[in-house]
């Protein structure tokens, strides 16, 4: 089965729900190595996205239309580094998914485009203790799953699973990008909040896909 616009809308609502649920955890992760606003900022952003979805007169025609709404809303409500980074990720993903429904290749294109957006805006690579450490393995796993003949849900699940492992892999790393980099060696031993929120958003996509199938 393919992942359609209804799935994309459900993904957004599930993202908002999980961000609210994990708000305090993300604030605490960010407090340890940053300034403690990541959970609050994402909650503010996704709450605004849901508000805009509710206000739409007609449902969007393409998956990309939903993601574009997410992108512009996050850019104008989140602030900090997360606003531009996630905003750009969703904007690039929106361009790659301007279709009514995603086949396996479409899911790969979505995740790869999001990764490209984060890298382009943040100029980070893997190993720097950022959300790239979750997006990058997610993109690789999605491509591998599609090549092995996985259906869209399997591809998405592979991506989310790899993002979770990628997020965990940030714990021992010393940050060299973003706010945590100012801590130097003391940033080691903490889970990166951006990698964790990336994992949560991709897991929300899988939950929504489970409901769609």
């Amino acid at each position: 089965m393919a992942l359609d616009v209804a799935w994309a809308v459900d993904w957004v609502r599930e993202s908002a729900r999980t961000v609210v649920e994990h708000r305090d955890e993300l604030v605490e992760l960010d407090r340890q190595i940053g300034d403690g606003d990541h959970g609050e900022n994402l909650k503010r952003g996704f709450t605004a996205v849901v508000g805009k979805l509710d206000a739409l007169a007609e449902p969007p025609a393409a998956v990309g239309d939903v993601l574009k709404l997410v992108a512009t809303t996050l850019m104008s409500t989140v602030g900090g580094a997360a606003g531009p980074l996630y905003g750009t990720a969703y904007l690039r993903a929106a361009k790659a998914t301007a279709v009514p429904a995603l086949d396996p290749a479409g899911v790969v294109a979505l995740v790869e485009a999001a990764l490209d957006g984060v890298v382009a805006r943040g100029k980070a690579t893997t190993g720097e203790k950022t959300m790239v450490d979750a997006w990058s393995p997610a993109a690789e796993a999605a491509a591998a799953s599609a090549a092995a003949g996985g259906d869209p849900v399997a591809v998405l699940t592979a991506a989310a699973h790899a993002a979770a492992e990628g997020a965990d892999s940030t714990v021992p790393l010393v940050a060299t990008k973003g706010r945590a980099s100012y801590l130097g060696e003391r940033s080691a031993g903490h889970l990166d909040p951006g990698a964790r929120s990336t994992q949560l958003l991709l897991e929300a996509a899988v939950v929504a896909a489970g409901r769609a199938s």
Binding site: V27, R31, G34, D35, G36, D37, E40, N41, R44, M75, S76, T77, V78, G79, G80, A81, A82, G83, P84, L85, R121, G122, V174, T176, K177, G178, R179, S181, Y182, L183, G184, R186
Partner: protein
């Protein structure tokens, strides 16, 4: 958490409402999106100056809007940079035909959001130049970090570039003098206590009673290292030495010495720090010809201070001395 607030989500907008009402002769507050401009709007033919950043650093930046300094300021959520849709109308409002200089502190969020807003402004035919302030010597190596942070030295950049714009310098000249200040200003800070962001409800980092953080930024983030509490003189020397060394100050040079409070430290303690910093500079044969002491770039109720030194020449001294009429700085 004990704070004089109503709803954590309304802190910034209620702050702006009070600020605008109290200082209607100097500033005008705009909502949806939130930004602050001079009461009379942009000055025809003058280069516009815009800055912004997270709230919680008051009086930075809105307190420096007014004649001789900024034309507009953009406050984000507490300790969170503003968004492009806030920055864009501020850039447009500050443009009176001579272009705009955006003064950005080197924090990842500030840089990314201003970058986006500047691209949007240029698409609307507003000529914008950007100067990134990175005066914090606590961050030693930009190879392994996001680069030096922009902290209290930002006040000097805004004041001096503001004076250049006010006297009629064109965009190239205002940008050049701003870059000159950035190249010659350095800061280092210390926190004695953490602060509490309203929506977080608990201190931004855990600091034992008998320890202090050396090399803090201004967003409540921890510093580079933690040391046992020491005397004011010892701490002042720890702050000033890397600043002077990084500037490569030589005997006979003139400087501005700026001791900035982080919000929770009384003026008396800031003057104790100033006294020692000045003595240390004079021991090196450096002439302190201009001074500033007070809470100008704060971190909510954090106890602590930063020491900023700006190398002065004739031009920078003249521009520093030029009249300024803002709510937080005026002479």
């Amino acid at each position: 958490m004990k704070k004089l607030i109503n709803d954590p989500a309304q802190v910034v907008s209620e702050t702006l409402d009070g600020f605008g009402a109290a200082h209607a002769d100097v500033v005008a507050v705009h909502h949806d999106p939130d930004y602050v401009t001079r009461a009379g709007g942009a000055v025809s033919g003058k280069v516009g100056l815009v800055s912004g950043g997270g709230s919680g650093h008051e009086p930075l930046h809105a307190g420096f809007v007014g004649a001789g300094m900024l034309d507009a300021a953009v406050p984000g959520a507490v300790f969170t940079s503003p968004t492009p849709d806030q920055i864009l109308p501020a850039l447009q409002a500050a443009d009176a035909g001579a272009g705009v200089l955006a003064i950005v502190k080197n924090y990842t969020g500030d840089v990314l959001n201003f970058e986006t807003a500047v691209e949007l402004a240029e698409a609307e035919d507003v000529a914008v130049r950007t100067v990134v302030v990175d005066d914090d010597v606590a961050v030693q190596d930009s190879l392994y970090t996001a680069g030096r942070r922009g902290v209290a030295g930002t006040v000097a950049v805004e004041k001096i570039a503001g004076a250049a714009a006010e006297r009629g310098d064109d965009l190239d000249a205002v940008e050049a003098v701003a870059r000159k200040v950035v190249a010659n200003v350095r800061s280092m800070g210390v926190a004695l206590t953490a602060c509490t962001v309203p929506h977080a409800g608990k201190p931004s980092f855990d600091l034992p009673e008998d320890e202090i953080e050396i090399g803090i930024g201004i967003h409540g983030e921890p510093g580079r290292r933690r040391i046992p509490l020491a005397s004011a003189d010892e701490i002042t020397e720890l702050l000033l030495t890397p600043v002077v060394d990084d500037l490569g100050l030589a005997s006979g040079e003139d400087v501005l010495l700026f001791v900035n409070g982080m919000g929770g430290t009384p003026a008396s303690e800031l003057y104790i720090v100033y006294r020692k910093a000045r003595a240390l500079l004079e021991e090196r044969g450096v002439n302190v010809t201009r001074s500033l002491v007070g809470n100008y770039v704060t971190s909510l109720e954090m106890q602590g201070a930063s020491v900023t030194v700006l190398r002065l020449d004739g031009e920078l001294t003249t521009l520093w001395d030029a009249p300024v009429h803002t709510t937080a700085l005026r002479w």
